[in-house]
């Protein structure tokens, strides 16, 4: 199942995740709260991330992206599976044993409004990780914080201000400065620009790319916006209901998607530039909603919405097969053939080539 993980050649990736599982118990209501089921938020996820690289996680809400990020940063304990950071298994480490790795793996949150304590100054917010990990002596704290603010494009004189005095984009920069403070090797960025306006998104994305190059930081970049992920990540994993359904290079995923879900997702995303050059894909329309992760469909989890589904899809769970260079979990993986697509609207694109 984990063809994607390659360690046999003696080389150690920065992060190696194998068959990672995270289930959340569902409790009954009432006096005695018994566990009556499990939310299968993550169910056997495997990938590797090399030093300084960026892997994108895309998929619709509820597919397990945030859970993946939170398990990797050990905000959640994994239910089972393995996570190796530079070869060391970190999935089972105790709080104290985990301490040095917490420095190396930092998280940037989606919401620049709720992820910063409103009662703390920017200096305290950015300085706290330095203090906790005893990185700089107290006297040098302010200059160090100012240096970090400057790196993320904020005015270093503003270290005494509170989050409410900054705009959304600036608050996201504060979160980035805090994540950078410990010089991590890996940043898990969970929807880092989703809450921002497009013009501000571009500022923050460019900043993250500059930092990635300058400090050689690896990114697990989580977003539901396919275009942003393509821009940021040379490698992309598409998730559906707690599983990776397709993982491969940017070109493999975006130019020749093989999984029906990847194909549907791409065709449903409005894209202004694609529309402006008249190169709109055929539109595939998926019916219905994502099923519940408490009781996911048997076999392939996508089969209830898939136009290719056959009996085998309900009977046998497709492993990640290697097809056309990428890994894809579908019994009928192949490039999109326009003729077999059932629900194609006329491509109401208002724009055609000039």
């Amino acid at each position: 199942m984990s063809e994607h993980v390659q360690t046999s050649n003696g080389h150690t990736p920065l992060l190696e995740v194998t068959d990672l599982v995270k289930h959340f118990p569902v409790k009954s209501t009432g006096v005695v709260r018994r566990t009556i089921g499990q939310v299968q938020a993550l169910d056997g996820v495997s990938f590797t991330l090399e030093k300084g690289q960026a892997l994108g996680l895309v998929g619709e809400s509820g597919c397990g992206k945030t859970t993946t990020g939170r398990v990797i940063t050990r905000l959640y304990d994994p239910t089972s599976g393995s996570m190796k950071f530079e070869g060391t298994e970190i999935g089972q480490l105790s709080g104290r044993q985990m301490m040095p790795y917490r420095r190396e793996i930092q998280l940037i949150f989606q919401d620049p409004y709720s992820s910063l304590n409103p009662r703390h100054t920017v200096g305290k917010i950015v300085g706290t990780p330095l203090e906790v990990h005893n990185i700089v002596p107290k006297k040098q704290m302010i200059p160090k914080v100012q240096e970090l603010l400057e790196v993320v494009g904020l005015n270093p004189e503003h270290y005494n201000r509170y989050p409410s005095e900054f705009s959304g984009g600036q608050r996201q920069r504060i979160g980035i400065a805090r994540a950078l403070a410990l010089r991590p090797k890996l940043i898990v960025a969970d929807e880092p620009v989703s809450a921002l306006d497009v013009s501000i998104q571009a500022q923050v994305i460019n900043l993250l790319q500059d930092l990635q190059r300058e400090f050689g930081i690896a990114f697990l970049f989580i977003a539901h916006d396919l275009a942003i992920v393509r821009h940021f990540c040379p490698e992309v994993a598409v998730m559906y209901l707690g599983k990776i359904v397709e993982i491969g290079s940017r070109d493999q995923i975006y130019n020749t998607p093989h999984h029906p879900y990847t194909q549907a997702l791409l065709s449903a995303s409005p894209d202004v530039k694609q529309a402006a050059i008249g190169g709109r894909r055929e539109r595939i329309r998926l019916e219905g909603d994502v099923p519940s992760p408490i009781n996911p469909p048997s076999g392939c989890r996508f089969r209830t919405r898939c136009w290719k589904a056959q009996d085998v899809c309900a009977e046998k769970e497709p492993p990640l097969y290697e097809v056309g260079g990428r890994n894809v979990a579908c019994h009928f993986a192949e490039p999109l053939q326009v003729v077999q697509v059932p629900v194609v609207s006329e491509g109401a694109t208002a724009v055609s080539p000039t």
Partner: protein, 361 residues
């Protein structure tokens, strides 16, 4: 341009001038809010028109006045807390200063609105069916039975499975996409001739967004309504809108047919929006081109061109006109239907020769 379909029932109020002008006309609309910090100039001198059967897309950053201007069309601003100037005519009926009863008759009948959050329109304590029935009976004298049948028909139309059963559900029993559909069902129950959709899919996943946008388009074809779609997503505009209106700091800064504006943009803010968005076709080794800075406060809008504090093209304009003189919304070199608010003399040449490749990648 679409002409008024004569077979449609007459609007509630239809003075004789209604035949000459488009279904919705907004003229020099200004909306201001007095607050304890000062006067918020939310919308300034905004003009546009929408014909029946057409879709206008309004795009712009948050706080640019998209919602405030659309709420004015429905007469939703409290006269005590806001100052409105200009004229808004729906089928010839003036909205600004109209009586409460006129507005009530118009809302939900000739004009309906859908929002990002279904809770704005649907109450959690009543069944979905109950609320659709109410909305229908408010404007139609029919029996309860007939209204329930209508509600079931509407839920079926917007693609809710098992509508006979789900009509008795409460909102929390619906998924996100189904809530949005239920709100659309309610908005469309009286076959409105104007539908305003304010970020209707911003909170939804793309596959559900695609379903909802298809639905809006199908409904529009079926009823021949005018549609305004408000979004920050140029991709949605490119797919759906006949015309696009780009707003910045409460003003229209570019306006014209969608295809024309997206392939021959003439205003630096539009260039900035196009350069900022990532897409699934262009060269990923090139960085995005952000717009520097942040949108201005509408308490104290900039002098001259509202975009000047963030504009990197001011050296194409003689002197310091960008800072001192408000550019008018005027046709550019490509004809009467394409308007832009910018002092640059020949934006078309500048865009096509120097910017297009960089921006469109």
């Amino acid at each position: 341009m679409t002409t008024v379909d004569r077979t449609m029932p007459e609007p509630v109020v239809a003075p004789s001038s209604a035949q000459q002008e488009p279904f919705l006309v907004v003229e020099d609309l200004t909306v201001q809010f007095p607050t304890h910090d000062g006067l918020v100039q939310a919308v300034t001198d905004l003009s546009y028109a929408v014909e029946l059967g057409e879709t206008l897309g309004i795009v712009g950053e948050s706080g640019s006045g998209k919602s405030v201007s659309s709420m004015a069309v429905l007469g939703l601003h409290d006269a005590k807390r806001s100052r409105l100037e200009g004229s808004i005519r729906v089928a010839g009926q003036e909205i600004i200063g109209a009586s409460k009863s006129t507005l009530r008759r118009l809302r939900g009948n000739d004009v309906a609105m859908i929002f990002q959050d279904p809770l704005t329109a649907l109450h959690p304590f009543f069944t979905v069916g109950n609320q659709i029935v109410e909305a229908y009976r408010l404007h139609n004298q029919v029996s309860k039975k007939a209204a329930w049948n209508r509600a079931i028909e509407m839920l079926d139309l917007v693609g809710i499975p098992e509508p006979q059963r789900r009509v008795n559900d409460y909102l929390h029993q619906f998924s996100g996409g189904m809530r949005q559909r239920a709100m659309i069902a309610m908005a469309l129950v009286n076959n409105p001739k104007l539908l305003i959709a304010d970020e209707p899919t911003t909170a939804l996943d793309v596959t559900v967004q695609a379903q909802i946008l298809d639905l809006v388009q199908t409904m529009q074809k079926e009823f021949g309504s005018a549609v305004i779609i408000i979004t920050h997503d140029l991709g949605v505009i490119a797919e759906l809108a006949d015309d696009v209106l780009v707003m910045y700091a409460g003003r229209a800064v570019e306006h014209g047919p969608t295809k024309e504006v997206l392939t021959h943009p003439e205003m630096p803010y539009t260039w900035g929006l196009l350069g900022s968005v990532a897409d699934v076709v262009s060269d990923t080794s090139k960085p995005l081109i952000p717009i520097p800075g942040t949108p201005p406060s509408l308490l104290n809008p900039p002098s001259g061109c509202p975009f000047h504090p963030r504009c990197t093209y001011q050296d194409h304009v003689e002197g310091s006109r960008c800072v001192s003189e408000l550019p008018l919304l005027r046709p550019g070199p490509r004809g009467e239907s394409h308007l832009k608010r910018c002092h640059i003399k020949d934006p078309e040449t500048l865009y096509q020769e120097e910017l297009k490749e960089e921006i469109m990648g």
